[in-house]
Amino acid sequence: MKYLRVLILALSALSATGCIEIIDDLTLNMDGTGTFKYNINLSSSKVKINSILALDSLDGKRVPSIGEIKQKINRLNEQLKSESGISNVSLTADYTNYVFKFSCDFASLAELQSAIKTIALSENSGKAIPELDHKWLIFSGTQLNRSVPEITIKKSKEIKSADRLLLKEGSYTSITRFELEIVKFDNDQAKVSANKKAIMLRTDPYSLTQNPSQLDNTIYLKKSE
């Protein structure tokens, strides 16, 4: 019976395609404060995730239990709450559909980037990560330069090529919202909302690993009166 279970789990782990949906959603106020949201939706692959979670190990690495994942998420939550300039931290996880939603308010983009850097360093046992020095959000009042953090590019290159192909099934959506209307933007793949106060860029995670700069954008805002 044990082997039958293993067989079913094994086949499930292989057969289901990897399908991940990510939204990063930045709301930027004129005074430099704002809200950052990061949502991950794995509900299309819940059979696969359940089968992986039921295994002891995958590809020679131990598979964490739901309890361990919860512990980790709670710890990240607590760490973020203690970061300077970061408030209203919320991290919710739906373990039935595997939808994870993170949200926080920030006092400035510099403090948001600094908090993320601190967390990343802490997860890397305090060892330096040069890619974290890269400023991926620069706001001048009427102009926002947005790019993908270099650490993301570095990490994506560590994904095995066979696994990277599975990311073609997913989607990555980047949304930036402002109080003022958008007058111009550099990335011609971007789409502006009807109210002209939000701009969206979409791709699939695979393309993003191949060409991380495809979500780079400089957005110009209408000057306030």
Binding site: M1, L4, V6, L7, I8, L9, A10, L11, S12, A13, L14, S15, A16, T17, E21, I23, N39, N41, S43, S44, S45, K46, V47, K48, N50, S51, A54, L55, S57, L58, D59, G60, K61, R62, P64, E68, Q71, K72, D94, T96, N97, V99, S125, I175, R177, S193, A194, N195, K197, A198, I199, M200
Partner: protein, 631 residues
């Protein structure tokens, strides 16, 4: 004429008495894997060969570039002799290695270039030593071996000397409080991560001027160089014992002639096989050298003797035949008459034909397991229970009494009619099943988004698994109770349904009828075919061997089934087995004979289409699989 007769007699004498490589296999060997036709291996590169686990003992010497670009043909090994890989254990030491014929000693030592000649105490035998292993050469035969004292023996002797010297308890309890002590549960870390971090931190300390804390928990050298610490003493004991056991090992082979061909008629008999490869595993030796029984041997010798008697003669021997379009492995298991009587009764059962209608014709693999647990229980009760009840041990005797009382009070008819022991299963491929998923629906005006649950499909392996029962009423009682008290269980009339039981995503269906209790995630079987697949079920002809044979029958279409198994989830040992068949289209069939009081035969047959490029790798794959299983 006299001279001619003398020469013929002499040649015949030499022919009969000429030693073969198998004559150097030590009597301590519990497992021996012989490649009889090593001509098959001519195309195999040495680099490829040393990757196999059965070569692990010599990997340290061969992974140094000495095998680069060479095949076995270049190694000086005699292709007219067998290559025998062995491992085993005596009371106090472990042995492993291989024996082979030699045609060119110079070539041999080009491959084994780390070995240096050492002094020999045995006439006609040359010895060569490397850091890990030794090679002994007698005439044109070679044995590469490693002898290691068992950890228990080394510990016992070291402790005796240590305490006799007036020393105290040697283990420092602080070790277990060390922050780096491996704890699998600790924040989800793995042993590897912990070790890497530990090592890195050590390196950091070494590279700075920060002195290592004097109270750090590391073994310290004794102040007086003539006095050894516990660890130094243990190393010395280990080395002394190793030399002592190595001498005993060589004395056995080269002086006393105590080799396996003499001590085991079964092994000697198997050497006559004309197959490409053979294996021989003496399980009774493994029992004798198992240190878990050490306490029982000392405290309850007669109990141990009776258990030992039960396992005496417990061997497995097999042959591997490589044919044009098939590879066959025949396995014979032998056991004592007492144990055999239990197996014989267990497999003395009629094949349950009712399972056939629940195995679809287009399955990718299926198995049937046909036993009579009632008969097996009764025979085991008669054979094994007296070992406990007549034991001098109060604990085992009490256990025996408990079993006797349970036997008296238990309704065995109800138990063994509910679960007769026979079962079956089939894997019917991957099918789409209905699930749900979350999507984010965007508002074009603001790009705000809301969550929506929508229907989805995911791939799921479809299986059927069931066991034979004559008492439907008993599982029925359990199912009705579950349906009444658990809202995920539903009585659907012909079947039961359990919501999201499979990977929290799709239902499990339970069918309790026609002499079977069945679990499946095949919705159409439960809803439309709860009496079986009808004309789409497998035919009797396809299971002929299973119906006529013994307990086990398995059939797999490898091109469909094995190819879909994800390699990542298996550990090294399981991968070895699976990799034998991966990427090789064909079918696999495992069948067994009815058990007798002395043994059972198993046959594993792999039929494939087309030709193979290098049959040597097949035989190495199979030998390696048997090696890792027997370890």
């Amino acid at each position: 004429m006299k001279i001619v007769l003398t020469i013929i007699s002499l040649l015949a004498f030499i022919g009969v008495n000429a030693q073969q490589s198998e004559d150097l296999v030590p009597q301590e060997a519990a497992s021996v894997f012989s490649i009889n036709n090593i001509n098959l291996l001519q195309k195999v590169s040495l680099d490829q060969l040393v990757q196999y686990e059965f070569m692990e003992e010599v990997q340290q010497e061969l992974f140094d570039g000495s095998t680069s670009g060479k095949t076995i043909k270049d190694s000086g090994i005699d292709f007219d002799q067998k290559l025998n890989i062995f491992m085993g254990q005596a009371d106090d030491y472990l042995v492993s290695g291989m024996t082979f014929g030699i045609v060119n000693k110079d070539q041999l030592f080009e491959v084994f270039d780390d070995f240096e000649p050492i002094e020999s105490n045995y006439e006609g035998v040359e010895f060569y030593s490397s850091y890990f292993n030794r090679i002994a050469i007698k005439g044109n035969l070679g044995i590469l071996y490693r002898v290691l004292p068992t950890g228990n023996r080394v510990d016992d002797l070291t402790d005796s000397i240590w305490y006799a010297q007036g020393n105290g308890y040697q283990w420092d309890d602080r070790y277990y409080e060390d922050e780096y002590y491996y704890d699998e549960e600790y924040e989800g870390w793995t042993r590897e991560e912990s070790l890497i971090e530990f090592t890195e931190e050590m390196e950091t300390e070494e590279n700075t001027t920060t002195p290592i804390d004097e109270e750090d928990n590391l073994p310290e050298a004794a102040d007086d160089p003539t006095i050894k610490t516990y660890y130094e003493l243990r190393d010395s004991v280990e080395m002394t014992l190793q030399n002592e056991f190595m001498n005993a090992f060589c004395e056995n082979i080269f002086v006393k002639g105590n080799v396996l061909t003499k001590s085991s008629p079964e092994f000697k008999n198997q050497l006559n096989s004309q197959s490409e490869g053979t294996f021989f595993i003496d399980n009774s030796k493994n029992l004798k050298t198992n240190h878990d029984f050490a306490f029982m041997i000392r405290k309850y010798p007669s109990l141990y003797d009776r258990i030992n008697e039960l396992y005496t003669g417990n061997t497995m021997s097999g042959e591997i035949h490589i044919n044009d379009n098939s590879i066959d492995m025949n396995l014979e298991t032998k056991y004592s008459e007492k144990l055999g009587s239990v197996y014989k009764e267990m497999t003395n059962s009629k094949f349950d034909k009712s399972v056939l209608k629940y195995i679809p014709e287009d399955n990718q693999s299926f198995f049937t397991y046909n036993v009579d647990l009632r008969k097996a229980y009764q025979e085991a009760f008669n054979v094994i229970l007296p070992i406990f009840t007549e034991s001098e041990s109060r604990e085992f005797s009490t256990l025996g009494l408990t079993i006797e009382l349970l036997d008296e009070f238990m309704n065995k008819d109800a138990l063994f009619d509910s679960y007769k022991g026979s079962m079956f299963g089939s894997f019917n491929g991957i099918k789409k099943v209905q699930t749900t998923k979350i999507i984010w629906d965007y508002d074009d005006e603001t790009f705000d988004y809301i969550e929506k649950e929508v229907g989805a499909e995911e791939d799921m392996p479809i299986f059927v698994f069931g066991f034979s029962t004559d008492r439907h009423d008993i599982p029925e009682k359990i199912m009705k109770h579950l349906c009444k008290h658990m809202n995920t269980f539903h009585n659907m009339g012909d079947y039961y349904m359990v919501d999201n039981a499979i990977l929290n995503a799709s239902p499990l269906y339970i069918i309790n009828k026609n002499g079977l209790f069945i679990y499946t995630n095949d919705e159409s079987l439960a809803k439309n075919n709860s009496d079986g697949y009808g004309k789409n079920a497998i035919s009797k002809k396809q299971v002929k061997k299973g119906m006529k044979g013994g307990a086990v029958y398995l059939h797999a279409d490898l091109s469909k089934a094995i190819a879909e198994l994800p390699k990542e989830i298996f550990n090294g040992r399981e991968k070895e087995m699976i990799d034998v068949f991966r990427g090789k289209s064909g079918s696999l069939e495992l069948s067994s004979s009815k058990s007798t009081k002395s043994g059972t035969s198993f046959n594993l047959s792999y039929q494939f289409e087309g030709e193979y490029d290098n049959s040597g790798t097949y035989i190495l794959d199979l030998i390696n699989s048997m090696y890792v299983i027997s370890k």
